[in-house]
């Protein structure tokens, strides 16, 4: 009898706690309903942009790579530009290559079906603190489509890309001609290689940036641990210490961020598998 009463009491307590939490959430919602929507809206916008653009990744007509990936200031590096005709019939391409905004090559070539054309460019390794920007723009003369790719030497984090690539000379000449052409996504081999290296996803290439740590794996394991922590500390399971509740809320945000990164890695893998 006593046991039953105690059980009943515990059930009532739990119900009132859950009710309390709901109440707290509701009062917050009443205070600023638009803030939740706005924050969610930005996340949704970001995900939509990411997903929609992933469909734009095409089998690139042109690509740029450079070697060696790390060099000393005085040593040269070689950039290889590849132009592919994936179609079965011959096509004519007009090719322009720019280095730091200056045109270094202009050529018109007819490529047989399923063939490849390559150009190489040699330059000195840029000084510490500066970067060389190489940009290729290929116009399919028959269809009028414009394709492009770019590399920033040395490889740089996305912030630098945002600064240089989004506003510098090689990046947006497409905009001025976008009314009459289709542009390829930024499917640069360089940036994919950069991402794969940094995240430790490039095991096939043997080029992982950290030989002992795999950043992608560390992040995934951290995500799993955080999700387990968030699950086992669910307030409905029983009384929690105040610090656990605080930690749960904060690690919840971190877990959301890691989940986005994990989805990005999965998306990359899926696209790579589909692209062969």
């Amino acid at each position: 009898m006593i046991k039953q009463e105690a059980k009943k009491e515990r059930r009532t307590l739990r119900a009132s706690r859950i009710q309390g939490q709901r109440g707290a959430t509701n009062s917050r919602t009443l205070k600023s309903p638009w803030q939740d929507d706005l924050a969610l809206g930005f996340v949704a916008l970001f995900l939509c942009v990411l997903l929609l653009n992933s469909f734009e990744v095409q089998s690139s007509v042109c690509s740029l790579t450079y070697f060696p990936s790390m060099a000393r200031e005085s040593e040269p590096f070689v950039v290889t530009a590849l132009v592919r005709n994936a179609a079965h019939e011959p096509r004519t391409y007009s090719i322009n290559i720019f280095v730091d905004g200056l045109k270094v090559l202009e050529s018109t070539s007819k490529l047989e079906g399923a063939s490849l054309l390559s150009f190489t460019y040699t330059s000195g390794w840029p000084k510490l603190g500066s970067a060389t920007r190489i940009y290729i723009e290929v116009l399919d003369v028959e269809s009028g489509a414009v394709y492009s790719d770019s590399v920033l030497v040395p490889s740089s984090p996305p912030e630098v890309w945002m600064s240089f690539a989004a506003f510098s000379s090689f990046a947006t000449s497409l905009l001025s001609s976008s009314s009459s052409s289709s542009s390829s996504a930024m499917s640069s081999t360089f940036t994919i290689v950069y991402y794969l290296n940094v995240m430790g996803l490039s095991s096939a290439l043997g080029q992982s940036a950290l030989p002992f740590f795999n950043v992608g794996l560390v992040m995934t394991l951290t995500l799993v641990l955080l999700l387990v922590f968030v699950e086992v500390t669910d307030p409905s399971y029983g009384k929690l210490a105040a610090w656990v509740t605080r930690l749960r809320r904060r690690y919840g945000l971190l877990a959301t961020g890691l989940l986005l990164i994990f989805l990005g890695m999965v998306l990359t893998r899926v696209v790579m598998i589909i692209a062969g």
Binding site: R28, S32, D36, L38, A39, F42, F46, V49, L50, N53, E56, V57, G101, L128, G129, R133, S150, S156, P157, P158, E159, V160, W161, M162, A165, A166, F167, S168, S169, T172, S173, L174, L175, S176, A185, M186, S188, T191, Y194, Y195, V198, M199, A209, L210, F213, V215, M219, T222, V244, R246, L247, R249, R250, Y251, L254, G257, L260, G264, L267, T268
Partner: protein
């Protein structure tokens, strides 16, 4: 009733530790290895969140640590997402959506509103004018430090419009919400106005290490102080947003065609 706050030392150990950690993370990220930088930012976020939840800290210090941790999350997220899927011209809005999402999450979690943080119509025109007038010379000075190349062979109105939209609604809004409305405000509450603005300027400069330029670091530190002072004096975010956006528009969309 106004609550009397206890002002802490400008060299509060927790503040110093987090700032050193942030500078170290940025340095490692830019000059040593991006992978180590990402791991360091993840470890920092885990450690700061863990310690501030377990230890009994003052509310002001907790606010500062919460806001600082957004920077580690920002470094981690922006460096670890597959941006190559995006068209280059969408990089800026996409990356700054991350900044804005983090800011709005933080504003929501502290039960605040963007209006109370200074984004309001009050004195809009005068604040906007102050921002524009100060932003033009600042952008010209920064141009001579970074000398960015023009985006198109000749001035393009569409390109200019795109840069303007990006700078006002993503870069200006995102960075000013993060550095001034959140970080500076909470540091000022902890250590007082003068040291708070200095700390926020230092943080702003530290986050510009990616340019790999010492003069640019100095410029962003001074610009951070000016933006912080403007925000503190006017209690309004419109002035700093206009100053920041105008500076960047002059730097990237006007000066490269004039110089």
């Amino acid at each position: 009733m106004e609550v009397q706050r206890k002002i802490q030392s400008p060299f509060h150990p927790a503040l110093m530790s987090v700032a050193v950690l942030l500078i170290a993370t940025e340095y490692v990220f830019v000059y040593v290895s991006e992978s180590w930088g990402i791991l360091l930012s993840l470890a920092s976020a885990l450690a700061i969140y863990g310690l501030m939840s377990v230890l009994e800290l003052s509310q002001d210090l907790i606010e500062v640590l919460e806001d600082f941790t957004l920077l580690f999350l920002y470094i981690m997220l922006v460096s670890s997402l597959p941006w190559f899927f995006l068209r280059q011209d969408l990089l800026v809005p996409a990356a700054y959506s991350v900044v804005l999402a983090l800011c709005f999450w933080r504003i929501r979690s502290r039960n605040s509103s963007i209006g109370s943080l200074g984004l309001s119509w009050r004195g809009f025109i005068s604040n906007a004018l102050i921002g524009i007038v100060a932003g033009v010379p600042a952008g010209a000075i920064e141009y001579y430090i970074l000398t960015p190349l023009p985006a198109t062979p000749a001035f393009d109105a569409l390109q200019f419009l795109q840069t303007t939209v990006y700078m006002f609604f993503f870069v200006g809004l995102g960075e000013e919400l993060l550095f001034r409305a959140l970080i500076q405000r909470s540091i000022v509450n902890l250590v007082g106005a003068g040291p708070g603005i200095l700390w926020s300027g230092l943080t702003f400069a530290a986050m510009h290490t990616v340019w790999r330029s010492v003069p640019e670091l100095f410029f962003t530190f001074v610009a951070g102080l000016a933006l912080g002072l403007l925000y503190h004096k006017t209690r309004n975010l419109v002035g700093p947003i206009f100053l920041h956006a105008t500076n960047n528009i002059v730097l990237l969309a006007i000066m490269p065609y004039l110089a």
